[in-house]
């Protein structure tokens, strides 16, 4: 961010509205304040003791003037209020088609999570992080020209997710969900600040938002482009749901990474070229994965027994299939789970030990 321009970067529609309102107030208030200054200065020079006889008139006031400077400021102030309501109303009501990103504040980092499961940790003091968290440090990637809804909560104390370039700010309150939304209009990198004091490393709970082109965003979201700071760990996402299913349906007992597994390991399967029994090969895309689950005998991978049962829609619904595909898509080298009995709770609700269901108002 370069401070040379007097007006800070305007990187969202809301920022533009803010600037209009800000400068409307600044100019009108400046005019009023400036004229009072001018009057003060004029009176102080004109009516200084050396310039007067020392005798003063007995002026007690004027009802007309009092009325004027009661009513006129009131109307000006009400116009500020009205303008403020318009901007605030807009800031409070995201469009229906907005992409939802979940942000959890935690001393002292932000955990952001995309609808497709990608997770990124923003800011914080690396010394206070676990190894996994440290690896996930990165930027919040947003597509340009597309509304994004951020749902915010906190795991411990109150934080505040503020993005100056978007002129946006919202507290992260434990036990509650709050919302902001952006419509980024400019490419670039912008600050994220924690604006609500939250303890020792409050000032390190900062990071960057990176606004990129839609295509670049899609590529990154698919995992095609490795942007820094995004592992395909997928807690709470569709892919995470798929992971649960993967365990629940006992896929893991054959598709395991142990040496005596009875089926191919699925790590890095997505997008790769799969040699089939009897010659030929297929690219492992969504269609291939779905086909292999619904009717596994159609295309058996070269070198493996054809032992996999078929799963029809009563066993794996369409939605579950999406989840499984998303999971398999996200499965990278070394990520096949090896234990079936434990997996962490989804990262949705605040994880206070005694927390009950969040406020359902």
């Amino acid at each position: 961010m370069n401070l040379t321009p007097f007006i800070p970067e305007i990187a969202s529609t809301q920022a533009y509205q803010f600037e209009l309102l800000f400068w409307y107030i600044a100019i009108t208030a400046g005019l009023v304040g400036g004229s009072v200054y001018a009057a003060l200065l004029y009176f102080c020079i004109k009516y200084r003791r050396g310039n007067t006889t020392g005798s003063t008139p007995r002026i007690l006031g004027s009802h007309r003037l009092e009325l004027a400077w009661t009513v006129m400021p009131l109307f000006v102030f009400l116009s500020y209020f009205a303008g403020g309501v318009i901007v605030y109303n807009n800031a409070h009501h995201p469009p229906d088609d907005a992409m939802e990103i979940f942000v959890i504040g935690k001393q002292w980092m932000w955990k952001a999570q995309y609808p497709t499961g990608q997770r990124v940790i923003i800011g914080g003091n690396p010394r206070n992080m676990t190894e996994a968290e440290r690896e996930s440090i990165g930027k919040l990637i947003l597509p340009i020209g597309r509304p994004v809804k951020i749902t915010i909560t906190s795991e411990d104390v109150i934080h505040d997710f503020g993005v100056p370039a978007f002129r946006s700010k919202m507290d992260a309150v434990p036990g509650r969900y709050t919302q902001v939304w952006y419509h980024p209009t400019r490419l670039g990198e912008y600050h994220i600040f924690c604006d609500q004091y939250c303890g020792t490393w409050h000032s390190l709970m900062v990071g960057k938002i990176k606004v990129v082109e839609q295509k670049e965003f899609d590529d990154w979201l698919m995992g095609h482009t490795p942007l820094q700071g995004s592992r395909n760990a997928v807690d709470g996402s569709l892919a995470h749901e798929g992971r649960q299913l993967f365990l629940k349906l006992n896929c893991i007992s054959c598709h395991s990474s142990t040496p005596n597994g009875k089926a191919p390991v699925l790590e890095g399967l997505y997008g790769s070229r799969v040699p089939l029994r009897g010659g030929g090969a297929e690219i492992a895309d969504e269609e291939y994965i779905i086909k292999s689950i619904r009717r596994p005998r159609l295309a058996v991978v070269d070198g493996w027994e054809s032992i996999m049962p078929a799963y029809d829609e009563t066993q794996v619904t369409k939605e579950q299939m999406d989840a499984l595909v998303a999971y398999i898509r996200s499965l990278k080298k070394g990520q096949t789970p090896d234990r079936t009995e434990y997996f962490p709770a989804p990262n949705g609700a605040p994880t206070y030990p005694r927390t009950q269901s969040p406020e359902k108002k």
């Binding site: 409070h92 009501h93 995201p94 809804k149 919302q179 108002k361």
Partner: protein, 112 residues
């Protein structure tokens, strides 16, 4: 405010004895207070938690508090400033309640 100069009795130069409470009044108020307290408990038990229970309970308690203030706390003899003070404390508590409610009753309406 007591007006000391209106007292004429020699042994009561400040008009202090003039406005002593009538014990009969006090005991009557006391009986009413106890009656209301028991009524409150009885009615609440009989009604159980319904929508009307709380307003009714609070209405009875307010009548009780009003009696205490008016008779026991001598609001009936109090000067205007005292009454103003009592009322303004209630008014300010009203501000607190009304503006709290403005948030708490409408918070769930913000759905996005």
């Amino acid at each position: 405010m007591a007006e000391p100069n209106t007292a004429t009795a020699n042994d009561d130069p400040h008009g202090i004895r003039q406005d002593v409470d009538n014990p009969a009044t006090l005991i009557l108020v006391f009986v009413v207070l106890i009656g209301l307290a028991l009524a409150n408990i009885g009615i609440s038990g009989a009604m159980g938690p319904t929508k009307l229970t709380l307003p009714l309970q609070l209405a009875i308690a307010s009548v009780q508090a009003g009696l205490v203030a008016y008779y026991f706390m001598h609001l009936r003899q109090g000067d205007k400033v005292v009454i103003l003070t009592a009322l303004s404390s209630l008014f300010w508590m009203g501000i607190l309640f009304v503006l709290f409610l403005a948030d708490y009753l409408t918070r769930h309406m913000v759905v996005g």
